[in-house]
């Protein structure tokens, strides 16, 4: 239960129905999409305008009350995991698209706007918002900014940071300020403060209003699905495409287990194979047509066992639906799993996959591989059964070894999901003490009380409990069974 004084202060900002304090209201906010961790917040507030957010952050600063901003709660690294007894600020009701300017090709939005809704609003003008995380139908732009979200098509167009032009923010100390400008050319003097804020995992404050870049919709898509009887060959095909000079909109690989899950989920009609490569070309029709010929030539030489080309938008959507739902679809194969997110230089993709295969055997756990092959962003999904003693620990150890592998191959411990709660202990493996000192110094300069998303990104700190799985009480009582 939250301290009475704090509650009274919050009551001055929020009516009762937007200040959640009862267990039944707080429990559903315990986790985001990383259920390995949960923590009950002291309270959840649901602001509806930026004044309320500013008042709340100022209050938190004044009381040194730690807070976490939350959009739709889809973080895969525990980024929006509540701080025990802290405040969770739910931003999903700030979901207005304030402006679409088709001439400037920009949109001005509130932080709780859903990623895909920007594209839907821009569509009538022939424009769209390019970053497309798999959860784009529900994840919010505020969360995308905090974690510099990517997506399948970031190979060609870059991550969120490449698409945010300006922001109005409230910093953790209550300062309200603007970063960046509306110029699409990105002409600016001085440090790139937008760049600093994007990907800061909520440690600096909350974005109140965001100006994003819109892109003209591609005239034509060509989506090719190639099946391989060996995961390494699919990886080689990626290298061949890259070496040819082509820059597809997306290049994705799924292995057998991931194919099985996606197939069970959306019946995408994927071929039966060890690995699938999805390559999508997009852009102006003339160019795409020429590139398409070239791509088919490369795929032909890549010893694919089957090649399919999406004949219409429906077939294209189905191919992507399987890929985008693949993480969650793994829930069909295993009661629990860890989604890992690491990067290796794409030239060493094959090597990484062989190593992961060996680790899988070592730990006797299944691993499904889904990855943005074009930029070397791996997403191994480690399957385990939490009811089995020690399984979670083994899965975590395997996940750790995969990250160590990524670093040793010259890559990174996260491609797009962020450090969050999940990987904070790996930060020192990636960065030197001096680098971490600089980051912490920056943070304290903005947030002396370290209240914004406390406990995330940096190692140590108060750790919320790991979820425990066990026999269900009703199972014990013989009332239910797992058939």
């Amino acid at each position: 239960m939250m301290n009475r004084g704090i509650l009274q202060a919050l009551q001055k900002i929020y009516p009762a129905d937007r200040l959640l304090t009862r267990d039944v209201e707080l429990l559903p906010y315990e986790s985001d999409a990383l259920t390995a961790f949960n923590a009950k917040p002291g309270a959840v507030v649901l602001p509806v305008n930026e004044e309320e957010i500013i008042d709340t952050v100022r209050l938190c600063h004044q009381l040194a009350l730690p807070f976490v901003a939350r959009g739709s709660g889809t973080s895969l690294s525990g980024g929006s995991l509540p701080i025990p007894e802290g405040l969770t600020i739910g931003l999903n009701r700030l979901n207005r698209i304030k402006k679409i300017d088709p001439l400037q090709r920009i949109a001005v939005v509130e932080p709780g706007v859903i990623n895909l809704h920007i594209t839907e609003a821009a569509q009538p003008y022939g424009l769209y918002y390019a970053p497309d995380p798999s959860s784009q139908s529900i994840c919010t732009i505020g969360g995308n900014i905090a974690f510099n979200s990517g997506g399948a098509h970031c190979l060609k167009y870059g991550m969120t940071s490449n698409h945010v032009l300006a922001m109005k923010v409230v910093l953790a100390d209550g300062t309200v300020t603007r970063f960046g400008g509306e110029s699409v050319d990105g002409v600016g003097i001085g440090p790139d403060l937008v760049g600093l804020f994007v990907g800061s995992e909520g440690l600096f404050g909350i974005a109140l209003e965001i100006t994003v870049r819109l892109m003209p919709q591609p005239e034509l898509y060509q989506t090719v699905l190639a099946a391989y009887d060996d995961l390494g060959r699919a990886g080689d095909a990626v290298s061949m495409v890259v070496a040819s000079g082509l820059l597809p909109g997306a290049m994705e690989i799924m292995d057998r287990l991931a194919i099985k899950a996606a197939e069970a989920s959306v019946s995408a009609g994927y071929p039966d194979a060890e690995a699938l490569l999805i390559v999508e070309l997009e852009g102006e029709a003339l160019q795409v047509e020429a590139e398409f010929e070239q791509l088919l030539g490369i795929i032909e030489k890549s010893s694919a066992i089957e090649v399919r080309v999406a004949q219409n938008e429906e077939e294209r959507t189905r191919i992507w639906k399987g890929r985008k739902g693949a993480f969650s679809a793994v829930g069909r194969l295993s009661p629990d799993y860890i989604v890992q997110d690491g990067v290796v230089p794409r030239s060493r993709l094959g090597e990484a996959l062989v190593e992961i295969g060996a680790l899988k055997d070592k730990y006797q756990l299944d691993v499904a591989n889904v990855f943005h092959a074009g930029d070397g962003n791996l997403h191994p999904l480690i399957l385990y059964d939490g009811r089995e003693a020690g399984a979670l620990e083994r899965a975590e150890a395997l996940a750790g070894e995969i990250l160590a592998l990524c670093i040793s191959l010259g890559g990174s411990i996260t491609g797009e999901h962020g450090i969050g709660m999940e990987k904070r202990d790996y930060l020192p493996a990636m960065f030197s003490e001096e680098e971490i000192d600089i980051m912490e110094g920056l943070r304290r300069a903005i947030d002396p009380n370290e209240i914004a998303n406390r406990g995330k990104m940096f190692p140590g700190g108060e750790a919320p409990a790991l979820s425990q799985h066990g026999v269900h009480p009703l199972e014990r009582a013989g009332l239910i069974s797992r058939e």
Partner: protein, 402 residues
Amino acid sequence: MATAIEKCVHCGFCLAACPTYNLLGEEMDSPRGRIYLMKNVLEERLSADDAQPYIDRCLGCMACVPACPSGVEYGDLLVSYRALQEDQRRRPPLDALARKLVIETLPYPRRFRLAAQTGKLSKALTAALPDAFAAMLNLLPAKLPPALPIPPVMPAKGARRGKVALLPGCVQQVLAPEINYAAAQLLAANGVEVHNPPGAGCCGSILLHIGAERQARDIARRNFTQFPADVDAIITTAAGCGSGINDYELLFKSQPDAERATEFSQKVMDFSAYLAELGLRQPAGFEEERRVVYQDACHLLHAQSQHAEPRALLNQIPNLRLLEIADAGMCCGSAGAYNIDQPAIAAQLGQRKIESILAVQPDVIVSANIGCITQLRQQLDRLGNPLPVLHIAEILHQACAD
């Protein structure tokens, strides 16, 4: 139940599809939030009473089911949870009485007709109903339409292309007998022999929906012996019935007649699905262009995956222009208790729906469920808009009349 709960990986993909989350913007009113609440109740971390308002607020529209990549059977979970809680729930005496009246009246057309005509029971009934029927009761017409008897066997016109039996249902045949009448006429006109077993009746879905499992089974069983074995399909014109009958396997699990229940449910087909497969015989169509919005019934679209079939039928009609609306898959709020328990939410959903519909300027609205039809009529009445709302069987019947 445990398996369904465990399958949920909390990814949040369901939030986008959920009408109450869209409207209320709170985790407790989202599918994954409700699953989490149910889990906590079952694990005794939370009292069932605390969780109940949020579970009650679920429309049961099933939009989250196709949206879920993990394949959580939310519908099964909800039905099982409601039934489990119902056993333990202590209702206030009046509430309990009204509930008993519902169980004893609604599934029986004759009793219901009597009750509706006297109008005395309707108020008591509506107070207890957490589903689409309550709204209809609340809107009982001053006078009931006369019954439109359908002969026990309607021979196929022309060459026989099929043989079906019609599931009469319960409330709909009293409130809108014209729907089954149109369906039977249309099927016969399209070369289908239509059987109307006089002893057949309610499928029990309405009872299942309010957690009265035992009574639902008893009602459902009465149908098992009524239908000829050699029909191609048993046709229902109410999306809610079709979806409830799909749950028979769960309802009859480890119960007597489980096999018969499964056999029966496998025979049942929605009217649109059957007719779309068969194809219409050269429909005459309309003299002037008719702009039509097809309003998806949740229990047809989400629970039975019928998106293309009704549209294919309407597209077969000359001079019928089918229009698509924004957020077509979002529930219209007809889930009845809403009009009583959650009037604000129901009204907002209804308002959003009618706004999306009117935005495309239709001449007529078509749906495949009497609940939706009633809700949309209520919204139109509020606006003083005389736009007709028809069951798909009715508009097809009009279009095929020679």
